[in-house]
Symmetry: C2
Subunit: 299 residues, 2 copies
């Protein structure tokens, strides 16, 4: 897709591409076990901003990746994200009833099914990242599997959830809060960006480090903005329960820094993210637009 | 290890090898997030018959695989198995309090931690299957990742769990019961066997089909024997709650066929399994011993 297309048009087309990709890889609701497959489709389809796949596609533009490859890598990360939402919403975790404007998976189905939905979506992500040719070199693609596994597991996203659990009712310092979010949301955002880039021509180590730094800043900015929106927006706008973190006594950027400082931090992270992209010139056009979208979004 | 070693000695040495492998790949309990890592080690270390890794190692002998490779493939499958036990024991699933003679993970820790333990053990399995060189050809190893993902997901083990959930209080026919177990326990036992074989020299399609048939029969025999033991053994011998299936009103081979017919079926499956190995001659020595171990075990 030519980079002259405006961002909104590009994003809408790519979100549709990801939806089609997920539709195709998720087993049909008529395939046994039907209820599980129906619930997996309920949890993964038809919602969300698809920020992670968009990052994969935009990073793929930096390395000249085939769009269909970057879309698959992005869809795999999105399946991990979808699984994490289903498990996070369970009664033993955040106990939430609303997600993307719909009842959460365990409310619409039942807890046992929601547990299996998350489990099976994770497996499906690893199926997707391994079954199509995504890199010219199979050894590079094995590295991509490992990268996704590390970002998903106990030293990545799942570890971030564990830190989050332990932080309820605790006063965290800014570095502690940052450590939590670098794992909880940051790991998957970085993975999406790097996986998209790996679908194309190899970057040298300094360039890869720049791209990773961009993704790290964007991941933190994403969380700061999430916390601001959680304070300021309404449940209807968010499609999930607003004000939940404060109610649950969870530390957030707003509770640690206040609203004004949080806004400043988001702006600074955006600056840092954009600066890291300088080496890539015009090829990073979509990544720049995405950074703006993430920081300036209202939902 | 020479095949002249008796089975018990071989199995004990290999179980120790797997324990060491798992010890090494599981993050230390001193690595953040500590509680999650402690719980992951609690769930995955120091217990179990390690049937799946033993199958991987024995199948690796058929194809001349490097033992250290087959051990890694087997350990990855064991991590998936360990995750499934933690999630199956949760209150929303089987709600069990005893596993391998110890309190289940959610009893020893808490439900949220047990949920994350299962999630992170699954990710770790995919890390393990991708991070070491296990096949001479990286493209073959990508196939191995896909094979593990399929065996783990909604058309494999997780799907079998969903069928199991739907079967509570239902009269299943023998084919329906078999369909459930081919997914619930069979998928992972087949994956372990095939992954072990893929670590060595390539088998042609007919030989691979024979090995798969062996694993399918062994997987079913494993379940039939499990059901017999659940009826006949005591909680102390099993290290898990005995008589649980009958209490939970779950269909089993014993409830569908009765004890005598179940014993006959196990013996027949053993015969079928052994017959499938004929093409492999002496190289399948350990697989034969394992089939016997699985059918004749008392725990």
């Amino acid at each position: 897709m030519a980079t002259t297309t405006d961002f909104k048009t590009w994003a809408a087309a790519q979100q549709q591409r990801i939806e089609t990709q997920l539709q195709a890889v998720l087993p049909g609701a008529d395939v046994a076990p039907q209820r599980l497959h129906e619930a997996m489709r309920y949890a993964a389809l038809g919602g969300g901003k698809r920020v992670r796949p968009l990052l994969a596609l935009a990073a793929g533009e930096v390395t000249g990746a085939d769009e269909s490859r970057a879309a698959i890598a992005g869809a795999a990360v999105e399946l991990i994200h979808a699984y994490s939402l289903v498990h996070d919403d369970l009664p033993c975790m955040d106990d939430d009833v609303l997600r993307r404007g719909k009842p959460t998976c365990h409310v619409e189905f039942d807890e046992a099914t929601a547990l299996l939905v998350g489990d099976a979506l994770q497996s499906l992500a690893f199926q997707l990242i391994s079954e199509f040719r995504l890199a010219n070199d199979a050894a590079v693609q094995l590295e991509m599997v490992k990268l996704l596994a590390l970002a998903t597991g106990s030293r990545g996203m799942a570890g971030g959830q564990a830190i989050d659990l332990a932080a309820v009712g605790v006063d965290l310092s800014l570095p502690e809060l940052e450590f939590m979010h670098i794992h909880k949301t940051g790991a998957l955002i970085r993975a999406a960006t790097l996986l998209g880039a790996h679908c194309g021509n190899a970057l040298d180590a300094p360039a890869l480090a720049k791209l990773d730094h961009f993704a790290k800043c964007v991941g933190l900015a994403f969380q700061v903005v999430d916390d601001l929106l959680d304070t300021e927006a309404t449940t209807a706008t968010l499609g999930k329960t607003a004000g939940k973190d404060a109610k649950d006594n969870k530390p957030t950027y707003v509770s640690v820094l206040g609203v004004a400082e949080s806004r400043k931090l988001a702006a600074q992270l955006r600056e840092d993210a954009l600066a890291a992209l300088e080496v890539f010139g015009g090829r990073a056009h979509r990544l720049r637009e995405l950074a703006d979208f993430i920081v300036l979004r209202k939902f």
